[in-house]
Amino acid sequence: MSRVLEVENLRISFPDGQGGRLYPVDGVSFSLERGETLALVGESGCGKSLTSLALLQLIPPPGRIESGSTVRLGDIDVLGLRGERLRQIRGRRIGMIFQDPMTSLNPVFKVGDQIAEGIRAHFDVSRAEARSRSFNLLQEVGIPDARSRLDAYPHQLSGGMRQRVMIAIALAAEPEILVADEPTTALDVTVQAQILEVLDRLRATRGMAVLLITHDLGIVAGRADRVAVMYAGQIVEEAPTARLFARPSHPYTQGLFASVPRLTGPVQRLTPIGGSVPPPSAWPAGCRFRPRCPKAFEKSELAPPLLPVEPDHRMRCWLAETGGARG
């Protein structure tokens, strides 16, 4: 297997309004193998979107990526790129799908043109050729009557159709990595299933690696190869999907599972985690989950590193040292 994306110690900061800076993403590391799907899971506000935007240097100012962070695409150091070289990476090596299809398309341009634009930004092809490729893409993402939809404006399409257009845009320059940031959150349940189906199909036919960002563990099973759970700007647990579902180890992950009704496995009490993710300004010292953690103990006052649970399973909790028992 070859590694297509490697993120190391990613830190993103914003001014806190009082002369200092806050770090809503604080030391995130993960990697993606060719053709692999990694799910990045966490509650609202934990830093998922910022993490994905940083991959293409899309953090809106005054936010910035701190030095010491690394994003590598093969042997390209993405965070060192500027101007034209950065532009050539965007869309070409990584394609992005955003959460809200109602606002992610430009309202004044035809959808066919918005796709063709992504093609012509990276390939030296004629308008006619770009249009015919756009048509193929619309068909590929399952838009009926694709020929006439090329000339539709976004407001003439439903939410599900718009998200398919968004996917077509992300695929326009044939990237090897697809980043989907909560691609179904804004959609009806039935439409959600259709969009996920499209993504599954494309992943299989195109052999793309996918970073699937979601707060919904329900769509992870059977779709992702590995799962990284994020909390308060950090990855707190990472494991192959099957193992994580069989044996979630971090108290936060266990809490997430407890709040998802399950059809299989041992019947559990539904105990959603009390409280919500605190904003970056209110993160405690030591383990950041400590105030909400039912298993917190003395050592939680020290910040834990990612510790091995199994060879390919790690978590950011001191309990890993004692196999789950409190020391």
Binding site: G91, M96, T103, S104, N106, P107, V108, F109, A170
Partner: protein
């Protein structure tokens, strides 16, 4: 779209009719009439005044006067100016070109330089350039145009003698002068009045454009545009600016009539032979037919500008055009 256009045009016509009626009533309700002023000056005898009154129809009931006015309007006849003794239409037509030159130049400057500066400010928000342009535009906005006009006319026009301080063309210009020479002469005369009027208007245009751009730059589709690998230029001008144009189109609809008639001060300062100074004189003379003609022209411009604004809006925004 066609039905929308028809409906919108019909609306405009009704608006115009109401405006004409109101104008007529207001004008007659104002105290004083043109002939009593002549009488006060003892220039004419009581009998002469009465005969003049009869001649201009001022002795008729209001409704009859209105009927005569509307009838004339339908024939493209706005009556005869009391002060100048010439048809109002020919007086207006005589002054229109100078006004259009001045207003047109100001609008052109606003919608090129003003928009460009506003977009730059938004793209470089918080930079030194942005802050300086903000200060400059506030200064321009706060400067009364008649004062700025006087200062420019005196300093640039009289003291330094760089540009003509007044007038529309050089009276000494050889009548055989070529097109180029005439154009240069016109531009030199236009420079100071245009600068004066632009200082205030461009400040407003810049501000509107900057804010509109800042709003659009926050929209999620801007992220999409960048993420697909477009150049910053395409991101700014194709994706952002195209959407940030709507608020300034509205502004254009507001500028148009103001620039045509609202430049009274500036026309006075620079002795610019436009409609503004004509209308000002008509007010002083209580020259009803002329005043009515000028007001009517303004009303037509206001209605036309709003129609034009809606039309441009519709052409720019598929959500309006296709609904």
């Amino acid at each position: 779209m066609r039905r929308w256009l028809l409906r919108r045009t019909a609306q405009a016509a009704v608006t115009l009719a109401i405006a004409i009626t109101l104008l007529f009533v207001l004008m007659r309700a104002a105290p004083g009439d043109p002939l009593s002023r002549l009488q006060g000056d003892r220039l004419l005898s009581r009998e002469e005044i009465a005969s003049l009154r009869e001649r201009y129809g001022l002795d008729q009931p209001l409704l009859t006067q209105f009927g005569a006015f509307v009838g004339g309007l339908a024939r493209g006849d706005l009556g005869v100016s009391i002060e100048y003794g010439r048809p109002v239409t020919s007086l207006l037509a005589e002054r229109l070109p100078a006004t259009l030159q001045l207003g047109g130049a100001v609008i052109l400057l606003n919608f090129t330089l003003g928009l460009w500066l506003g977009v730059r400010q938004a793209v470089r928000r918080g930079s030194r350039e942005d802050r300086w342009l903000t200060v400059a535009s506030l200064g321009g906005y706060a400067t009364p145009s008649f004062w700025l006009g006087l200062v420019l006319a005196w300093l640039v026009g009289v003291k330094w003698g760089l540009l003509p301080p007044a007038g529309h063309s050089d009276p000494l210009l050889d009548s055989g002068a070529g097109f180029l020479e005439r154009t240069v002469d016109l531009l030199r005369h236009l420079a100071l009045p245009v600068l004066t009027l632009s200082a205030v208007t461009i400040a407003t245009t810049m501000r509107h454009q900057r804010n509109a751009m800042l709003d659009v730059l926050r929209d999620p589709f801007m992220l999409t545009a960048r993420a697909k690998g477009l150049s910053e230029r395409a991101v700014t001008w194709r994706h952002a600016w195209r959407n940030a144009l709507f608020p300034v189109v509205t502004l254009f609809g507001l500028w148009l009539p103001i620039l045509v008639t609202g430049s009274v001060f500036v026309e006075a300062v620079f002795a610019w032979p436009g409609l503004g100074s004509l209308a000002a004189a008509a007010v002083g003379h209580r020259d009803y037919p002329l005043l009515m003609g000028a007001a009517l022209l303004t009303a037509v411009l206001v209605v036309a500008a709003s129609l034009l604004t809606d039309l441009v809006y519709a052409l720019l925004d598929p959500r309006v055009r296709l609904s």
